[in-house]
Amino acid sequence: MAVVLSKERVGHEEVEKFYQFCKNSINTEVASYLEACVRCGICAEACLFYMGENVSGRIDPTLTPAYKADLLREIYKENYTLLGRLKKLFGFGLKIEPEDLKEQVRLAFYTCTNCDRCTKACPMGIDTPKLVSIVRGALTYAGLTPKDLADATNMSVEKGSPLGVDTQTFLQRIEFISEEYEVEVPVDKKPSEYLYIPSSIELMKFPASVASAAKVLNRAGVNWTVSTVAHEATNFGVFAQSKEVTKEMLRRVLEGAKGLGVRYIIAPECGHAYQSMRFIAPNVFPEEWTFEVLNIVEFIDKMIKEGKLRINKKVLKERATLHDSCQIGRRGGVLREPRRIMNMVAEDFRDSVLIPEHNICCGGGGGVLVIGDADYYRQKAFISKMTLFDKAKAKTVVCYCANCMLALTKSSRELKRDYRFVSIVELVAEAIEEE
């Protein structure tokens, strides 16, 4: 089985593997991004980790997104450009020390959530998440994934989910939710049109979300089910950027979906689940992945448009603002839908940004929440996120990703703040409850 390593000692073999992986990851797109950087540093002002430090009075220039890609850039130059090759020939090539790789782990895993905000700010449109993903992949290939993340990834391959939810536990939880929240959850129903795949974070930490999703699906009257084979929406292979793990996790989803003959897959309130199933899976299984993937919020919006769901009361009374999940919103195109829903369910909805794509990341995505060593950075990032909440003067924040909710709740508690985080699906379920 594919396994992700987290070595303690970093030696020259690891450096060599890192180098080789970076060298082989260059294509036209990546090369354009690496060549295009004009060192303007505007990306720093967009990065929530840099801003978080900045707001508390410190400036850590190494948190600049452009700097995260710099080692990759040097490797590219050394192997693909004339001047770089000449430099290497004359002995002035790159000398990567093991400490440099440790620094790369900090830059790629602890202080980057692949939120894409720097891309929007960059005058040259450089997609830094793509470059950071390559660095992550290279570090994983060299066996230097951070321990917490490696453990969770290995767990998800072995047991089926990063929290250790195997098929049996899954069935138990579904039963529990079904009883506790009095909602019907079909399991392995054949034939079905829609396959709903919860994430284990929701399943274990926010069971109300799963129940709400089930309520909504039932009320919409569609033919849906969950699957015991495809029971995990998260894909830690995407965090660690390990091709084998990504493929394996997606293969399970494919197997389950194919087995049930569904047409649609509904991704739950989980950021990278939508990314992996909507945009990555068709490239991992070009021929077999024929499903249409919808995020649950997208699905709700679609049902409202088709008249299958009706929201006729505002269940959120206090001033509330919306937190956009980066992977679903800015990187997934699901930005207008949650706002439409908010306007229907909230009495006093104040958007914290003029342009939805400008919203700030929760600071816990991309596996940062899982990694203990990254806690400091996540907390600092929350400070920059708070400025948006305070701008909207809201204490209630509606989210559409369970990981975001977990990260924000954790940070808020650690910094002793009193924000309240609510899932949008729960609100919808409440709003359509009585009819």
Binding site: K23, N24, I26, N27, N79, Y80, L82
Partner: protein, 346 residues
């Protein structure tokens, strides 16, 4: 020997005419007004200069320009004042009598005469391409230069080699200063140079006994210290970006700048824009033709008389650009494929 003042009196001019000329000479030479009494005194007292004018590979255009100098001295005074002891074009004797006259003058006024040289010098093949009375031009020049008080090279041919020096230069033409290495030669370039400039330089020798202040290339600073562009009356049009597009078009008639038509004014040092020609009547730009830099070295080889100054000399058009792009593309694609191979395919 008469002085200038005596000539004026003899010719029937008034003292006022004499003073006007003295002031004109002073102004042309850029001397300060406080020196004017000294200038007048010098011109009253000092005897007229003896000039020996040698012509080698020339067209006699400089002579023509010289005798048409009328702003400083009236023509009859001019020809009286500058005692041309030897001038192949202008003097009356010819043949051996002319040569004899030259030899006498060189002996009698040794160390004091002004040697004016017109035309370039050809030392090639023992100087056989330009001879006078059986003697090669090199020998004639060196002989005359020995006893000269001041050596003046008039015209671009004498100053830089000029037209004979242009490609392919079959006679191996050289400038006077290249042949007379080590001696001070005053260069008055131009094709032809302005007559008033030549007269003023000689007058300066009379007044001060030496050459005027020269720049690093031997040109008098007062006349060649600025470019045509610095003093051109069409400069405001250049500043405003108003250019004539073709000869005699609508806007050229309005006096627009001739930069687009190839004016070399910005890189040409001469006094054409201020002193002008034919008693200040006009100069090429005023007549609607762009300057082609006739007082600068190698103006004929530079060519590009009608192409603008900022254009690449030697042509760089769209064809060359496309050739460059094609070469770059070929190399780039080749390197990219090589990189792909080295990368090992994805």
């Amino acid at each position: 020997m008469e002085s200038l003042y005596h000539i004026y009196k003899r010719r029937g001019y008034t003292r006022r005419d004499f003073l006007t000329s003295a002031i004109a000479i002073s102004t042309a030479l850029g001397l300060s007004s406080s020196l004017l009494p000294k200038v007048v005194k010098a011109l009253e007292v000092k005897p007229k200069p003896v000039v020996i004018w040698l012509e080698f590979q020339d067209c006699a255009g400089c002579t023509e320009s010289f005798i048409r100098s009328t702003s400083i001295l009236p023509t009859d005074v001019l020809l009286d004042y500058l005692s041309l002891e030897y001038h192949e074009t202008l003097m009356s004797p010819s043949g051996f009598y002319a040569e004899e006259s030259k030899r006498e003058a060189m002996e009698k006024y040794r160390g004091k005469y002004v040697l004016v040289v017109e035309g370039s010098v050809s030392p090639k093949d023992k100087g056989v391409y330009c001879t006078v009375a059986g003697k090669s031009n090199i020998d004639l020049l060196k002989e005359a230069a020995e006893g000269a008080g001041l050596i003046v090279a008039v015209g671009s041919c004498a100053s830089w080699g000029g037209i004979p020096h242009a490609y392919p230069n079959p006679t191996g033409a050289l400038s006077v200063s290249e042949v007379l290495k080590g001696k001070q030669v005053v260069n008055i370039p131009g094709c032809p140079p302005i007559g008033d400039v030549m007269v003023s330089v000689i007058a300066n020798y009379v007044i001060t006994g030496k050459a005027p202040e020269l720049d690093s290339m031997g040109r008098p600073k007062t006349f060649y210290g600025q470019t045509i562009h610095d003093r051109c009356y069409r400069r405001p049009f250049y500043n405003a970006g108003r250019f004539a597009n073709s000869f005699d078009d609508e806007v050229a008639k309005k006096g627009y700048c001739l930069y687009k038509l190839g004016c070399k004014g910005p890189i040409t040092r001469n006094a054409c824009a201020t002193i002008r020609w034919n008693g200040g009547l006009s100069f090429p730009i005023q007549s609607g033709h762009p300057c082609f830099g006739c007082s600068e070295p190698d103006f004929w080889d530079r060519g590009m008389i009608y192409t603008p100054l900022s254009v690449v000399s030697g042509e760089f058009g769209i064809k060359e650009a496309l050739v460059g792009v094609a070469v770059g593309t070929a190399v780039g694609v080749g390197v990219a494929y090589m990189n792909k191979k080295l990368r090992g395919g994805k």
